[in-house]
Amino acid sequence: MESAAYARLYPREACEKTLASGARGDGRPLGRARARTCATGVASGALGSALAKHGATTACAGVTATIATPDATRPEEGFLEIAVDHAPQASEDARDGRTRGRREAAAAACASAVANAAVLGKDLKQLCVERGTFAWRVRVDVIVLCDDGGAADCAVTAVMAALRDCVLPEVAVTRGKVALEGDGTAMNGDGVRKGTRLDVQTMPVCLTTALYREHLLVDPTREEEALSECEVSVVLTEDGLLRGVFKPGGEVEATEDTLMKCIAAAKLHYAASAKVVLEATEDEE
């Protein structure tokens, strides 16, 4: 029987056969993540945007901003909102009302990661326009265009690249009224966008590991995710601190040993992943 047909009809047996030889369906060793790529400036309708690809998993993030009234208890802070959504084209079962659990878990993981990592600073003071009256509400929308496993990881990469790419337009406050100078597309003489860049202070990177029987598969593909009993997503920043460990349900518990291995895998892959985002955004500076 053809291998593709066999994998479709008997996924467990096919997976076990490949794992027995020490490699996975796509030839990777168990502990290796897929290559990550990232490009910025993909959506002209956003202040900052990025397209991230982890293997075949693709996510596109776009940053928009509005002027809002700051919270009365935090008059010097703005707002940062992150929303992750799966486009209907992302996977076969991306129909409304079916298997939303995993997608919402990926969304929650991504949003928490960026919030916990305090990417724009512990407080959001850099988003303040005028104390008590005007502040920026920055919204990052992430769309997962293709879900081939590890959507949360891809979403985090896209969010970080989009935030680093974002340029907020200049704001002038006159007599209690706020006016934006331009809408974010104005360019200086040397082709650089006018406005202020966001001061992105940390670089969180997320890595998901799936548990299948006693094997730990780093950065699972969709077929591996479908077979796995539980998944653990780990978010780290450059100082080696953990910003989040997520295990959305699953059929099996993750022992301390398993968690330690997942965290170690995330540490191992941190440098390469962060480099991808930094390189994609460095030529803007």
């Binding site: 309708g45 928009t64 901003a65 265009l145 293709c146 809408d183």
Partner: protein, 240 residues
Amino acid sequence: MPSSLAPREDARADAHCRALVVALDVVPAAAGSAYVELGDTKASCAVYGPRRGRAELAGVDRGTLDVDAYRAPFATGARALDGANRARARGRGARTADDGLARTVKEALSASVLTESFPKTQVDACVTVLDARGGEAVACVLAASAALARAGVACRDLVSACECARAGERMMLDPTREEIETSDGMVFLAQMSSMEAYAKTETFGRWNADETERALDACAAGCNRFDAVLREALRANPRD
């Protein structure tokens, strides 16, 4: 076409379309998929199926084609808004499902897809708009056609589409969003080029018969050009 006095924003002639770029197989898990860039407008489509559809629509002798359109929240270009515009803004909870676009794409494709070839099942074409700079319906129809061809769904012909906007005496082919906003009429055409048959036409604004014919001819020329690009892309990347 009357010659224009002021050049268009991107220095195109009135009868020129934007460059069309097609990439295939962007979603490997789908039966067929395509990503299309028409100037700055970006759309992608993934086709799943034939697979089990909604029971009440199952026909005995024919299948159904379902189109789902998803518009990215940042696609429309309301990048940054001040207080005055906030009320009009599409904020949290903005509807990303674009039913009007889905209906347009579905109507354009229905003339071509041979639903008798997949009875009792459903083919889902899921379309996503990432950047809406004019011609989203055109880009979506092109992406869906390429994805359907890739998926091997039986069709009479490739469907291509084109739009034409009128500003006073001037007719501009493949208008950008800014040109559409300042126009006083628009024509959308989807055609099956090899058969020289119109699949769907839609006019917006007041048109007399003469102008309509000129606009449709211009759109048909645009459609033929896009059709050639799609065919070349499909031919250059054979499915193994």
